[in-house]
């Protein structure tokens, strides 16, 4: 068993393997100092909640406390490996500053109270608003951190209890484009491919996906293939020189905001070279002719100019994509949070459609999730869709849902698409949403244009309920704070990007009076007395397992069919991929084999949206476009971004995640190893830009945009010149009181979103830069993605290849 510092070496040691072989097992373990595996009382199965990979793992419990974690050797996702965040961040659960009692605002300050008082306050305000204004006064903004059972309960309450369409998840910031792109192309959400496709691929293309930082275990799988015989070739699209870029056969670093032009250029080359599967396209897709016409306008020469990428590299990338026999593509925030997000992501689907590479080993698209339980917000309808991937524009689907909920169809709002997060905040800003209930997320740091968000949340007329595990920048502004139980302190299921469902079991008791989110929602439903048609309770379940069973019924016959699963089954089998039903008792590894799609007008989840205007496609249009339910090839031209650098603000600003932190660091900064690995915000710039602005590594710079300023330490990296990068995890809760608000990247980001997916654009804005203070040279922290990483004595973990 090797001991290894996994802060310094986030991906651990290699276990090489060849194409078509099974990925070898390597079990990663981290236990509190002084604890050995022999001391552990029990190992409680769960899965990772700090990124979307969905790695199976066990929590070590001793004397009723968490004392460590270990990867699950038999799990199909990770085969025992763990991400650094998973290795260390569980320690945060035991922090002394957990929220342990409900708080209510009295004379301007939050004071402790009991559950009855807090819930009464919420219920009283709810009743008042229902009487005064009706359901439109309510907004719910949830997380990518809760469990399936909790989202389903929340959806039932919001959509059928209150009857509002203002319910979304912060997965909107993160993964909305993945869902939108899948719906555009395949008529339905849900990943076509599977992580196991990495074992077979001969070309892996990563579009705006710094997998080395965001899903380290998936990157370990890729690294192990790269270290083995007959390795795949990697294509990387990213303006930063990431670890992925450094392993790539071709690295394209386009100018931010030009992804659609780049994708059209690649498709142009592939089509002109005739490297398409014409039979597949004719048999299984509609819309090809228009794509062909559209991409004709994007010869590599023109694209090279728009994207500022050498023409030769575009040709080489297209050559690799066109020559691949088993192509896996993944897409993430570099596309999703950038200009024309959905249009760009859809072109990746198109690439696979025209090459006929879907549904067989090594041929997969992974429109990745960022949030670990994002998939569940989408399935359960806690984001912009109805539960079970039902189509809000299809009256039969609404009627079916009404039957399941035992309410009149009119009770479920479906006069327009469900309201997305940015619009919910707008309604709150204008005063028509008057009660906003936020669960498990921290918009006061994670949303764009923070000065605006703070002013929306701080409004007197808005009744703000915040449910979370720690005090945050958002709880500070709340009228009622509800202390929630964290992962490991409650039971439920959740589903990762490749549709693998895991059961996560309660390992320890929550601190103080903190309660599972499910219990809080059930309590509210009970107090509000929501009923169905015959007067029986609307929410008829009482705990996780009965909530899961209710959900199974809701999923029956839909793409995400869970009816073949049960807690018992998941306990025995570990992760299982949906659909899992009578016809697929062992789950389903790949969707759409043989070109069979779920896009029939009667069955599809969505008729799609116009990629530029965002207007929903009407049913009649969809029927005439796609009567027999084939895949839909949607094309789009390039449009210049809405904000472009000029003399005043010469830089593109992009923001993103890092390997050591998650979300707004509420958990990761409370784990000493992760906190020390990257304690402070920094700004990345190219050597040329640093020189032009007379800046050196370690200097303190002020980055500013029309929205605000951030003070950050300079790092000189291989990023494209003219582009600045800021990590977006840093907020204010761990700063001394009264410290300046100059730390969160979102002070600077623009309020603009993709019209089709409604995902905010964190990677299309402008900034300028000036020197504040000379610094002390290179920082040692968090260089995992770069050179010379920090060493951490307390981060020694065990790795055991088997």
């Amino acid at each position: 068993m090797a001991r290894i510092d996994r802060i310094a070496e986030p991906w651990g040691t290699r276990t090489p393997y060849g194409p078509g072989e099974d990925w070898p097992v390597r079990v990663d373990t981290f236990l509190e100092e002084g604890i050995t595996p022999r001391d552990v009382d029990r190992w409680v199965p769960t899965a990772s909640i700090l990124h979307s990979n969905g790695d199976g793992m066990d929590i070590a419990v001793k004397d009723g406390r968490m004392v460590g974690v270990r990867g699950a050797a038999g799990d199909r996702i990770n085969r025992g490996r763990l991400d650094p965040k998973d290795l260390y961040a569980w320690q945060a659960g035991a922090s002394p500053d957990r929220l342990t009692r409900p708080l209510v605002r009295r004379n301007g300050t939050l004071v402790e109270t009991d559950w009855d008082t807090a819930m009464d306050a919420v219920v009283r305000r709810s009743r008042e608003l229902l009487d005064e204004q009706g359901s439109g006064a309510f907004g719910f903004y949830t997380s990518g951190q809760l469990f399936l059972e909790e989202y389903y309960t929340l959806t039932t309450i919001a959509r059928a209890g209150i009857g509002t369409s203002h319910l979304d998840g912060n997965t909107r910031l993160c993964t909305a484009t993945a869902a939108a792109a899948l719906k555009e192309s395949f008529g339905c959400d849900g990943q076509p491919g599977t992580y196991a496709d990495i074992d077979h691929a001969d070309v892996i293309a990563l579009f705006g996906h710094n997998v080395a930082a965001t899903q380290t275990v998936l990157w370990m799988r890729m690294l192990d293939r790269l270290a083995g015989p007959d390795p795949p070739r990697v294509i990387c699209v990213d303006p930063r020189s990431t670890p992925v870029a450094r392993m790539a056969a071709v690295h394209l670093a386009p100018r931010p905001g030009t992804n659609v032009a780049l994708m059209n250029g690649l498709l142009h080359e592939i089509i002109s070279a005739g490297r398409i599967d014409r039979d597949y396209v004719d048999a299984h897709a509609v819309g090809y002719e228009e794509l062909e016409r559209r991409v004709r306008e994007y010869p590599p020469g023109r694209v090279a100019e728009i994207c500022d990428v050498p023409e030769e590299l575009i040709r080489r990338a297209a050559g690799l994509l066109g020559g691949a026999e088993r192509l896996v593509s993944t897409v993430l925030q570099g596309f999703y949070q950038s200009h024309q997000a959905t249009a760009a992501a859809v072109q990746v689907n198109n690439l696979h459609l025209i090459r006929g590479m879907l549904g067989s080993p090594g041929c997969g698209v992974l429109q990745m999730n960022g949030q670990p339980t994002a998939q569940n917000t989408r399935e359960c309808g806690a984001d912009g869709d109805l539960p079970g991937f039902r189509n809000w524009a299809n009256d039969d689907h609404v009627a079916d849902l009404a039957r399941i909920w035992n309410v009149e169809p009119e009770r479920i709002p479906h006069h327009a698409p469900p309201t997305h997060a940015m619009q919910i905040f707008r309604f709150a800003e204008q005063g028509s949403v008057r009660l906003l209930w936020i669960s498990g997320t921290n918009p006061a740091v994670s949303m764009p244009d923070l000065a605006r968000i703070r002013s929306v949340l701080a409004q007197e007329r808005l009744f703000l309920v915040v449910q979370d595990i720690f005090p945050t920048e958002t709880t500070e502004l709340a009228d009622v704070v509800l202390p929630a139980a964290a992962w490991g302190e409650k039971t439920g299921t959740f589903t990762n990007t490749d549709r693998t469902v895991h059961l996560s079991e309660k390992a320890v008791e929550p601190p103080g009076e903190a309660r599972p989110d499910l219990e809080i929602f059930l309590d509210y439903a009970g107090r509000m007395g929501f009923t169905g048609r015959d007067g029986t309770p609307l929410v008829g379940w009482t705990g996780p397992e009965s909530a899961f069973r209710a959900w199974q019924e809701c999923s029956r016959g839909r793409p995400c069919d869970y009816t073949g699963l049960s807690y018992e089954r998941l306990r025995a089998a570990g992760g299982v991929q949906w659909p899992c039903d009578r016809d697929h008792p062992d789950g389903t590894e790949r969707l759409y084999s043989g070109g069979r799609f779920w896009a029939a007008p009667e069955y599809c989840e969505s008729f799609g949206r116009d990629l530029v205007t965002g207007a929903p496609v009407e049913e009649v249009e969809y029927r005439s476009l796609n009567p027999s339910g084939k895949a839909v090839i949607r094309s789009a031209g390039y449009l210049p971004p809405h904000e472009a650098p000029d003399e005043l603000r010469p830089f593109h600003l992009i923001t993103g995640r890092t390997v050591h932190h998650f979300h707004t660091r509420t958990k990761t900064a409370r784990a000493p190893q992760l906190r020390d690995a990257a304690p402070e915000v920094w700004v990345e710039m190219s050597a040329a830009d640093a020189e032009a602005h007379d800046m050196r590594e370690g200097d303190l710079a002020e980055v500013s945009s029309p929205r605000g300023v951030v003070h950050a330490t300079v790092r000189v990296t291989g990023i494209r010149s003219g582009v600045l990068f800021l990590p977006f995890h840093y907020g204010y809760w761990d700063l001394p009181e009264g410290a300046a608000r100059t730390r969160a990247a979102n002070e600077l980001t623009i309020t603009d979103w993709d019209p089709a997916s409604k995902q905010p654009l964190f990677k299309t804005g402008v900034a300028t830069l000036r020197l504040l203070e000379r610094g002390g040279g290179p920082s040692s922290a968090d260089r995992a993605g770069e050179a010379g990483p920090a060493r951490s004595r307390t981060a020694m973990a065990h790795e055991e290849p088997r």
């Binding site: 439109g136 940015m422 707008r426 204008q430 028509s432 205007t613 207007a615």
Partner: protein, 161 residues
Amino acid sequence: MNGIGLALRGLHHGERALAQDLLRVSERHTGDHEIHHVARDLSAWSQRHVRELAEIGGRYGARLGTAHPLETGLGAKLRGKGGELVGHRGPPGMPLLHDLRHVHVQAAGVSLDWEMIAQAARGNRDTALLRLVERCHPDTLRQMRWANAHLKQLSAQVLHG
């Protein structure tokens, strides 16, 4: 100028007005960010139509100018958080509904003009003109659907809120 020339002049006028309306809507609703950004993109479509119409108009004796730039800065009044028109009564969001309605009606007129031109081009077997219609008219329909979709999305909240 023959009938086609006259119709082209009408269309040119309508497209220019639509381009101007969309720009104004963008400027008036800076607090409704999607409206603000997308209306500007959609205005650019009509501005392109105006140029293309001017190029072809001469063949039908219609001298269609492109010289007058669109006016900007007209809509700034509605800036600000609530997006309330000074002195305006009624729920916030009302002016936006009103503007979207106007865009829809304006675009519908332009769409009908394109229909007429298409028919004339077919009758005349003027393939260049027909291709122009095929390039531009779908944009007009998308502009309409955009306004319509936002009206649908916002009406319940604004009128009931």
